[in-house]
Symmetry: C2
Subunit: 480 residues, 2 copies
């Protein structure tokens, strides 16, 4: 508890949110301060769970008056510790999970208004019941909350068609660091009446205010889908294959994922019911999917022509087109297991990078060579959203090496990989964000002018530096 | 000339940009301070035309040191006087037209890097030569410059498929109000490494800095197109017709434009070579277009099925599908003339509004009733981008009324129309921006918290208030 806190701070919080919205018991607090993979345990004064935007506003005002820091939190599924306070923050957790009302769905305008604590899957399901699609989709969708998705500009498997979370947001409701409520819940496709403030809050990781509600874009529900699992002739062939898909299949193309041979092997060894759909072994695979919003869409005809051309050009050596939903699911099961099945192979040093799509093969070859030189026997494990230029460039430890000795080299490996990324004008965090984990690394690569501009924005919104301090950008001194 | 200007200010400017980049003669200045439709003539100290980003930086630094205001300008085609200084601004014009180099085109990454002064049509043509599409398209495309398009977040006729300018920008290079150069020229689809600063500059109408270059998103070139001119059964039927297009045709749908009967009549009366493709007269028409990035795309089959269904549902009473490029051009000629042929009918009071797509019929009916009550005989002329919820709600004067007497009621009519827009959670400037013309009207409708947040952002970037003062948001006092 900060020594300068008034005695009645906790009781004042309780007055705002009642006992249903306040957690002070250590045991009950524990899940809120524990990183989902168990890597970190943070520290907090208490967990506050307001039920309404007005309660959020009152909590933030109280904290602002008392200069107590606030860490906004959704489903606590982030991978960079952006939603967890640490001892030096002397912060409360403002958890939005109780604000989980779907306020509205307009099928003609293709929009849906939801509160920040709605679980992503609940939103997907509600859209689906109304014959609409909310296309954001990622591993944690059963647990993560839309407020967190927006605050981190989440990516996922459909970005190539529908964009990142940023592209799916038409309006926001936000409580500012002084506790004021900004009602920006517009549901318009066009609005040129000033700075687009919502863009600042999207991806700001809770450092500029608390997102309490949002207007989401919806799309027609897919009625026909085509899913293919293709073995590439070479990594480089992924590029013309992608370009041809964009021309021929257009925006019906919804996913274009890269899977390396080692991903198949780990998945078959450690996963459950994972079947390699292609008999011979190949170095690289593409899992691709296309969707149409209508039956009898001609998509199957188009997709067949596309596959024929891919074989003809010899970009693809072998491949299977899913004949039914079960087979399509089995392809996606491989993709999910590629993510999950690294753990049993020991330590993994991870990167979430993006480069221009045209530089993907160069990046992978350069990075592989560099890390193998650094740690002989290291096992590169690059997979992910190649259509977006986004690779989860993970590195499994050499067989037989001591796990901790390997993980101790995390930062050293990061630097080598990130140097290559920056050299290719890339990003060291494509979709996971910066949080607490990557603040230093990010500041190392950003220009001083960019850091300064970000700090200016931060300071103008939050002069007391109470909103998620220490996250995203290097802290500046708060105003006295 | 501001009385506190040092004598050598102009000669210092000339040192930076040489005599090729400096205009001080009144006659030569005149086109730069004249609104394109001749509505206003502004006033400026001089016109500076730098040739490089470094020159822009040096000019801005000199102005900042001397507290001289700067109005950034592109092709000077804006409709709200955002690019013209006025006497009280004591400002120079910083015209970007000489910075017109296309720096790069990457066909695999589908990106193009251009300087701010490139004319939109030049960019479209260069993309096209490389078998790619840059989809931003609007009336002024032969004259307007991309820097201005970005600074105003321009819309146009392809927004339903490709989004506003904001959605087409991956990176920016900006000179800040202190003359520093921010190199944010990334060409990434994903980048979560901090606040997305470019979003602030996009649509900020030159009030936060000078955009000097940008990375644009490209798309596959259209290889097949379908263009249809359809007569609606009723205005309300536009909505299910649009929704069905989005499901059946998906993102192949690139335009969905509303045209009223009066638009056809004015176009036939005053336009050149305008032919009404449908024999009988109808109240409302839709001009729609769809594109595919490949030949033999099945788009014609899909489009035919769509048309059949539209007739079957009786949303469409009559319609013509263009049989060739010439016929498609003739449909678009109507659309262009709808914009142009209002002038010969006398005074026109204009609005550029957006509402949720589902509220379009309600808006038009309510606004028509309200303005007819206010000015009997007034002739509503609503047209435009109904697929984006964006209507150019123009109002031609009653036949025989004195033009000036009619135009004198501009603000009164605006207020009546905008009240209805706001009541429907709409926007009073969908794509034209705020500039100088709509500052007061916008401030009337925005919440005080939103105005305050915008002013905070403005002040943090430009504490001297030298960047395009008096535009976009109500000015605040500069720091002493």
């Amino acid at each position: 508890m900060p020594n300068n806190l008034p005695n009645d701070f906790i009781s004042n919080l309780e007055q705002i949110v009642t006992d249903k919205g306040l957690i002070v018991e250590k045991n009950e607090i524990r899940p809120y301060i524990t990183e989902r993979r168990g890597r970190f345990v943070g520290e907090t004064l208490c967990v506050v769970k307001p039920a309404t935007t007005k309660e959020v506003s009152a909590v933030v005002k109280l904290c602002s008056d008392n200069k107590v820091a606030i860490v906004p939190q959704g489903g606590n599924t982030g991978l960079v510790s952006g939603g967890i306070p640490f001892a030096e923050d002397r912060a409360i957790i403002l958890n939005l999970s109780r604000m989980n009302t779907i306020r509205d769905l307009d099928p003609i305008n293709n929009t849906m208004t939801v509160e920040a604590g709605c679980i992503l899957q609940t939103i997907q399901d509600h859209a689906s019941k109304n014959d609409r699609l909310f296309p954001l989709s990622l591993g944690a969708e059963g647990t993560c909350e839309i407020g967190g998705n927006i605050a981190t500009n989440a990516g996922g498997i459909n970005v190539i068609r529908y964009g990142n979370t940023r592209a799916l947001i038409l309006g926001l409701e936000v409580v500012t660091p002084t506790g004021e409520i900004w009602d920006g819940l517009r549901s318009l496709r066009k609005d040129n009446t000033g700075y687009d403030l919502k863009q600042l809050f999207i991806g700001s990781e809770g450092t500029l205010g608390v997102i309490t509600a949002a207007v989401l874009k919806l799309f027609p529900s897919p009625k026909e889908q085509q899913t293919a699992f293709l073995a590439l002739n070479s990594l480089e062939d992924a590029l013309p294959l992608l370009n041809m898909a964009q021309s021929m299949i257009g925006d019906a193309l919804t996913s274009f994922e890269l899977i390396p041979r080692i991903g198949i092997e780990f998945s078959q060894k450690h996963g459950h019911r994972v079947i390699d759909p292609i008999e011979a072994k190949h170095d690289w695979y593409i899992l691709m999917e296309a969707s149409a919003g209508t039956a009898n869409s001609f998509l199957p005809d188009l997709f067949t022509k596309y596959m024929e051309k891919a074989f003809e050009e010899q970009w693809v050596l072998d491949g299977v087109l899913a004949q039914n939903k079960a087979q399509s699911d089995s392809f996606w099961l491989i993709r999910e297991n590629v993510t999950l099945c690294q753990k049993p192979e020991g330590g993994s040093i991870k990167h979430d990078i993006a480069v221009p799509v045209s530089s993907i093969p160069t990046f992978i070859r350069k990075a592989n060579a560099a890390v193998k030189k650094l740690i002989p026997g290291i096992r590169p494990y690059p997979f992910g959203h190649v259509g977006d230029g986004n690779i989860h460039y993970n590195l499994s430890q050499p067989v037989g090496m001591d796990k901790q000795a390997y993980l101790n080299r995390w930062e050293e490996v990061n630097r080598v990989v990130h140097d290559i990324v920056i050299d290719l004008n890339g990003s060291i965090s494509a979709e996971h964000g910066i949080g607490r984990v990557k603040v230093k690394e990010n500041a190392h690569y950003k220009s001083s002018i960019e850091i300064k501009l970000m700090q200016q924005v931060k300071h103008s919104f939050d002069p007391l530096n109470i909103m998620n301090p220490g996250k995203l950008i290097p802290s500046i001194q708060p105003k006295k």
